[in-house]
């Protein structure tokens, strides 16, 4: 426990209240490359302490930034949070109890923590150079980021946990101006990656940009098509809002209890996967990370829950309380996994949609979506004919009923999914 938190805990132990202290500190270095030139480099430091106090069934929350508060500042934090607990009317359902918390492996890489900034900067320069070497008529941009952060939680039920994790993010973006085409690549890791990953990023972005420049709009089509993991991610985003415990509790989900059959696939939220960027050993309230089966062979098994909404719904927290010191816990996903199935889709011949955009314009409760196709391709006899600018339209609940997962999963940051077969419509 850091010194400021120890002092805060001592203050809180003198009050007759339930309390929880959540703290974070860390730093990040990131590099923005524009037109194959390293243009913006930055190194940020952050730290802060968030305090929740439960008093007579009500909750107060407040935070301070920095880890070097004066005695006065700490006393004021406690006073302010107590005052908010008195007037707030936000219901307080208790804090989690201490449980066995196995450590998730592969979340920390000393090489990222200890890399000198100058070395990271050279890596970014090499990345920019790689872009110059690989490009033909494309303009290439991208970014590289490295971060290390520590989160800790202490509460009046005896929870005292701290975890340090590292992060590396890589992105590349290629543009062709005439005829216009774009391609992008985005991936993240918990460990330092070698040059091969940067090459993959640039090549993948260039490959997609070349396809995109050739792409034309397709004639309207209704029928069987394949979605790449990128497009699956966008569509699941529209659906997943319905599985958030707070949305369920407040009547803004299609579902009010588990058990409904919605298709034949299996969808999991798993924060215990080794080396996955969405993983953690405990969530923002100190509940151990876990594998939560949301949909099992098409039947809804669980919702995404934190301690509070689990209590409202008389269920058990799935360890999905996300958090920053600036906020009270909120429900979110860790790593989302669409389990592979039986379909052999690697050599699928027909229409394949890779990337769509505009999912935040969709309606999660009605399920209606109309998304613009950024890139797709028609595969005939092994040859690719790219298309774009159509809209993929439909209702997500109808679409999921027809979803059949392929065999081989691919990871995109904290999302893991195979290609899937669906009945869809392009206009």
């Amino acid at each position: 426990m850091i010194e400021a938190v120890e002092r805060l805990v001592r203050l809180l132990e003198g009050e007759n209240v339930e309390w929880e202290v959540f703290y974070q500190f860390g730093r990040s270095g990131s590099f923005a490359i524009e037109r194959e030139t390293l243009e913006r480099s930055q190194r940020k430091f952050y730290s802060g302490i968030g305090l929740r106090i439960g008093l007579k069934g009500r909750l107060g929350f407040s935070y301070i930034t920095g880890l070097h508060p004066s005695g006065n500042e700490l006393e004021n934090l406690v006073k302010r949070t107590l005052k908010l607990a008195r007037i707030s009317e936000v219901p307080f359902r208790g804090f989690p109890e201490k449980e066995k918390t196995p450590l998730v492996k592969g979340l920390y890489d000393r090489r990222i923590d200890e890399i000198p900034f100058e070395e990271a900067h050279s890596m970014a320069l090499e990345y920019a150079e790689l872009m110059s070497e690989k490009k033909k008529n494309e303009t290439i941009s991208g970014s590289l980021s490295l971060a290390v952060g520590t989160s800790g939680i202490v509460n009046s039920n005896g929870i005292e946990l701290e975890e340090r994790s590292t992060y590396m993010g890589v992105s590349a973006y290629a543009v062709i101006s005439d005829p216009p085409g774009t391609g992008s690549y985005r991936q993240s890791f918990t460990s330092l990656q070698n040059f091969g990953e940067l090459e993959r990023a640039v090549e993948s972005a260039i490959g997609d940009a070349r396809l995109s420049a050739e792409a034309k709009k397709l004639e309207p089509f209704t029928g069987e098509l394949v979605l790449e993991p990128e497009a699956v991610s966008s569509l699941l985003d529209v659906f997943l809002g319905n599985l958030y415990g707070d949305e369920v509790y407040h009547g803004r989900s299609r579902f009010s209890r588990p058990g409904e059959e919605i298709g034949s696939f299996t969808l999991v939220d798993d924060s215990t996967l080794e080396g996955f960027p969405g993983s953690y050993s405990f969530d923002g309230e100190g509940t151990p990370g876990q594998r939560a089966v949301l949909v099992e062979e098409g039947v809804i098994k669980s919702f995404l829950l934190d301690y509070t909404y689990a209590s409202f719904l008389e269920m058990k927290s799935t360890g999905n309380a996300l958090r920053s010191f600036r906020s009270v816990p909120y429900i979110g996903t860790s790593n989302v996994i669409l389990e592979p199935g039986e379909e052999s889709l690697e050599d699928y011949e027909g229409i394949v949609v890779k990337r769509v955009f505009g999912e935040h314009t969709a309606n999660p409760v009605s399920g209606d979506f109309s998304l613009t196709v950024e890139l797709g391709y028609v595969v005939r006899n092994g040859e690719l004919r790219p298309f774009k600018d159509n809209m993929l339209v439909g209702n997500v609940f109808e679409l999921l009923k027809t979803l059949k997962p392929g065999r081989k999963a691919r990871r995109i940051s904290s999302f893991l999914s195979p290609r899937v077969l669906v009945e869809g419509r392009l206009v």
């Binding site: 390293l38 930055q42 936000v90 009547g251 314009t361 969709a362 309606n363 009605s366 979506f369 950024e374």
Partner: protein, 459 residues
């Protein structure tokens, strides 16, 4: 230590460090944010918070930018030094607009400061709205109130010192209606760089009834047809259309990076005659307004398109120099721990001379789409998507049945050229947040317009 004293100390420190590291240009923002937030869902308070924080964002330039930020006072000095070290390491060959030093102090004034309203009164407001939102078929209701004061002390190596104080207030509410397994939502947001007078000026009975009625109306609405067709956009939808279809593509950083289809098109006629589009951060009281941008440049009204001709890009210090155009103060950062990017403020279409009835009369078979459900654009491909909250079929100039919320898509250059009518009823009162890796408050709007777009309906 009060902000002013911290600032004096930082100015001195920065000078020393710049000498030590041989840095020519640097700029530092010391930002204090005080904010209050209340969220209530179904009568249950989910959040009531009142917070304040102080942080620093430091940038140094040496042909490329070095940036560092910190929110622990013990690290403020280190952040400045880090930014300078990074800049030295970077040695790029870009240039930036410098200009003369500016010393100024601007507080955006309000009639009735929300800081003088007790949190208890704000809670009563939220409760009152929650009650008003109850009704037949309404299964969920939510009210969201927030206000903030952002005090920024900006200084740079040229000797500029600018202090700005920007108050911002917002209020939004939504309902979800349900019947026979169908569910639909509707919502309304208000916001501005205003005080409590914003809240007092809202006819709560009218707007809560409106939101409920529209959610219920959507329950029995069918999906619109699909395909390319004539679309009348209401002022709110015109706002999001112009924000997505034009605004992002004229952000000069995108243009410079080869990421905009409007690169090299200054002076060209890219839209119909009669179309004038403006981005104006100086509009009093609007949600996207600010007096100085986050590079200490005075905010200016920019005509982007004048009578169909592309006349300007939105810029920052770097792109103003790059394109050799006058800086117009559009560098905005989400907070002290973000680097400024070129962003919009309040973006709108100037009124034309068509009345709504005349526009309607032009449409034989099309859609009248209303409201903003957000949008997204691929500026390099020139394709954008934008969502409407509700719509109506239009047949022979008459409004027929309701259709559901739906997204539309278009090509930037086609949609701007296909505008057939520009209404005379411009309104800029649709506050929201725009995302570009960072979120900033914006407003947009315009009159009713008639254009063509690809409608992603299910029929």
């Amino acid at each position: 230590m009060p902000c002013g004293e911290v600032m004096e100390w930082l100015v001195k420190k920065a000078e020393e460090l710049a000498r030590k590291h041989g840095v020519d240009y640097y700029e530092i923002r010391l930002v204090k944010v005080t904010s209050r937030k209340l969220i209530m869902t179904n009568g249950q308070l989910r959040e009531l918070s009142s917070n304040s924080e102080l942080g620093i964002g430091a940038r140094a330039f040496n042909g490329a930018w070095g940036f560092s930020s910190a929110n622990d006072r013990e690290r403020f000095e280190k952040a400045i030094e880090t930014a300078m070290k990074i800049a030295k390491l970077s040695r790029g060959n870009a240039r930036i607009y410098l200009g003369d030093p500016v010393r100024d102090e601007v507080e955006l004034g309000v009639k009735k400061p929300f800081t003088e309203i007790d949190i208890e009164e704000k809670l009563s407001l939220v409760k009152e709205i929650d009650k008003l939102l109850k009704g037949e078929k309404i299964v969920s209701r939510s009210v969201n109130y927030g206000d903030s004061i952002v005090e920024t002390l900006y200084f740079n190596s040229l000797g500029s010192e600018v202090r700005t104080v920007v108050p911002r207030i917002r209020l939004g509410f939504s309902v979800t209606a349900k019947e026979n397994g169908e569910m639909q939502s509707f919502w309304k947001s208000f916001g501005g760089t205003l005080g409590w007078e914003l809240v007092e000026g809202i006819d709560l009975h009218h707007w809560t009834s409106h939101v409920k009625a529209k959610a219920r109306e959507l329950l029995s609405a069918g999906s619109p047809p699909s395909g390319e067709m004539e679309v009348i956009a209401d002022p709110e939808l015109t706002g999001v259309l112009i924000h997505e279809a034009l605004g992002h593509a004229v952000e000069a950083d995108s243009v410079k990076n080869g990421d905009s289809i409007l690169a090299g098109k200054l002076g060209e006629e890219i839209a119909v005659e009669g179309l004038t589009v403006v981005d104006d951060p100086t509009l009093p009281g609007k949600f996207g307004s600010y007096p100085y941008d986050d590079e200490g440049i005075k905010a200016k009204r920019v005509e982007i398109i004048r009578d169909g001709v592309l006349v300007s890009y939105l810029n920052d210090r770097e792109t103003a120099e790059y394109f050799d155009i006058e800086p117009n103060g559009h560098a905005r950062a989400e907070s002290y721990n973000h680097q400024p990017l070129v962003r919009m403020s309040n973006t709108y279409v100037e009124p034309g001379d068509w009345s709504f009835e005349e526009i309607l009369g032009e449409v034989r078979h099309g859609l009248y789409m209303l409201g903003d459900k957000g949008g997204e654009v691929d500026t390099a491909n020139g394709t954008f998507t934008f969502g409407a909250k509700i719509g109506y079929i239009v047949e022979n100039g008459e409004i027929r049945e309701t259709v559901r919320d739906v997204a539309l898509s278009g090509k930037i250059l086609d949609v701007l050229r296909n505008i057939r009518a520009i209404g005379n009823d411009t309104r800029v009162e649709f506050p929201g947040y725009c995302g570009k890796g960072q979120w900033v408050p914006v407003d947009d709007g315009g009159p009713h317009i008639l254009t063509r777009a690809l409608v992603g309906g299910l029929r």
